[in-house]
């Protein structure tokens, strides 16, 4: 899922400063699971903003709501509040939700309250780690299921660099060396031959370098088109 963390409060305050009536909108999906953008967090942020507003003597009124997903139009139709009544919507969704809501609410500024950080898994209670980079060209088949693009700090594809140290990455002692993990896993699987294979330079065009990506499922997209006609 998508993992995000809340922006520094001061940055949020600065963002909403031009507005008087703000709706803090949580998202019931990934960001709820990673404890940053669900209804409770929306409630808390709204409360903090009201407190801060009062402290600073601002004319700021803040409500909160939460919807199942901010990245699908159908869900945006069940709001308890009418977003048109607000000067701005402060979204606690990932960047996808913020962007999508901006399209749904053409007349209302939609502001991001989170920094969308990575695609990750919950590795322990309250701890998430990056597992995938959305690179568009998955290599997990030959890396023992451990992504070198996401979990090697340098996204190397032919093995660890010289910075690997006791299984940790040179970037930080708290960070596992992705290639160390891959090596261990392939060793376990008896598939070190995969590590020996030459990996030619990657095709990054499937990643961001190829420009904006889009997925259209032919069978579904066609139906949608037909019915639109």
């Amino acid at each position: 899922m998508i993992v995000a963390e809340r922006k520094p409060f001061d940055e949020i305050v600065e963002m909403v400063a031009p507005y008087k009536k703000v709706l803090v909108l949580g998202c019931g999906s990934c960001v709820t699971v990673c404890l940053t953008g669900g209804e409770r967090q929306a409630e808390i942020l709204a409360s903090q903003l009201r407190l801060a507003g009062r402290k600073k003597g601002l004319d700021l009124s803040v409500d909160f709501d939460c919807i199942t997903r901010q990245c699908d139009r159908e869900f945006t139709e069940n709001l308890k509040f009418d977003p048109a009544e607000y000067d701005a919507v402060l979204s606690l969704a990932c960047g996808v939700g913020v962007g999508f809501m901006s399209g749904v609410l053409p007349d209302t500024p939609v502001l991001p309250a989170l920094n969308t950080t990575f695609y990750g898994a919950g590795v322990a209670e309250g701890v998430w780690e990056e597992y995938c980079h959305g690179c568009g060209d998955c290599v997990l088949a030959w890396t023992g299921g451990i992504c070198p693009i996401a979990r090697c700090s340098k996204s190397l594809i032919n093995g660890a660099c010289g910075g690997t140290n006791d299984g940790k990455c040179e970037v930080s002692q708290d960070m596992d060396c992705g290639w160390h993990l891959i090596y261990k896993r392939l060793q376990e699987l008896g598939r070190l031959d995969e590590l020996r294979k030459m990996r030619p330079p990657r095709d990054w065009s499937k990643n961001r370098s190829g420009g904006v990506r889009r997925l259209s499922r032919e069978e579904m997209a066609e139906i949608a088109q037909e019915s639109a006609e």
Binding site: G159, C161, G163, L192, P200
Partner: protein, 303 residues
């Protein structure tokens, strides 16, 4: 066998023991002291001088320019190239530039992460890794590049470079198998020489050399001058794959301050003497103490 393109290649091809040195470009334009050192202490004593490429991600004067200036002064450079800061277009282009400037020895490296340096907000590139960079060089040498034309055919070059291609390895890494696998891949990708990370344990190095007998590429053992016991301890703590044995640390600790440089030199020379039979050369990294190089070479009985 191919004609050697550099003195370094010539020496190694001839099966002679090769010594290389290393200088780091300055942070700024004041390049003269580095050139001077290289000329005064290294010229004539070493086969070639490595020029680091924005080492440890601390922004500095470029390696290519310094290599070029060294050439002007009659010192043969080894152009170090890291993958951190350039995508494949820039790397290929820089290789062509280097060649036209007369640079022949190129050491392909992954490069330290920006997080280690002084521009921590910078974006890491790592479009290619070190294996990919070696492959890119091989392609250029074959007259094409990594790209393709509209029909999907490799692009042809107008004028083809020829390099003496090097790579590095960490012989005393805590986990040596992945190091060896990667070294094999580098060799397959075209590496012609290897300069190692610092080694302080001849026995471990011997073991490593036995393990890579099948890799038919000459190895220059890395010797980093230990300036103090503190530095040795720091390396043990922080430098991956480097283990300074306690006995050496103790010698440095015991040495009176005024004798420290002497002891450093002794240690380096002893290490070279011990490992000379196991490999094809030594790569001396003096970290600014280039003035010690003549003594090391002498005591190591290399002169």
């Amino acid at each position: 066998m191919n004609e050697p393109v550099s003195k370094l290649q010539e020496i190694l091809d001839a099966g002679q023991f090769a010594v290389t040195g290393e200088i780091g470009p300055p942070k700024g334009t004041n390049v003269e002291p580095a050139l001077h050192e290289a000329q005064q202490y290294l010229e004539g004593r070493v086969a070639a001088v490595n020029v680091t490429d924005i080492q440890t991600a601390v922004m500095r004067l470029g390696s290519m320019a310094v290599c070029h200036l060294l050439l002007d002064r009659g010192v043969e450079p080894v152009f170090q190239m890291v993958c951190r800061d350039r995508n494949r277009l820039a790397l290929e282009s820089d290789l062509l530039s280097a060649y036209t400037l007369g640079i022949r020895n190129v050491l392909a490296l992954t490069g330290d992460h920006v997080a280690m340096g002084d521009h921590r907000e910078a974006k890491c590139v790592f479009d290619l890794d070190s294996v990919g960079l070696l492959e890119a060089m091989a392609r250029l040498e074959a007259g094409t590049d990594l790209g393709r034309d509209a029909k999907g055919n490799p692009n042809q070059l107008d004028g083809v470079p020829k390099f003496f291609k090097g790579c590095c390895v960490t012989p005393c890494a805590d986990e040596v198998e992945p190091q060896i696998i990667k070294l094999e891949k580098k060799a397959t990708a075209g590496a012609q020489f290897v300069q190692t990370q610092a080694v302080y344990d001849p026995a471990a190095f011997e073991k490593f050399m036995n393990q890579i007998q099948h890799v038919k590429v000459p190895v220059l053992v890395g010797i980093v001058l230990l300036k103090s016991a503190g530095m040795a301890k720091y390396m043990n703590r922080s430098v991956p794959g480097v283990q300074v044995p306690d006995a050496i640390v103790q010698r440095l600790t015991d040495a009176p301050k005024e004798d420290r440089a002497k002891v450093s030199v002794e240690i380096a020379a002893e290490l070279i003497r011990a490992m000379k039979p196991m490999c094809q050369g030594a790569h001396l990294m003096t970290l600014g103490w280039d003035h010690c190089v003549p003594d090391i070479i002498q005591q190591a009985e290399l002169a």
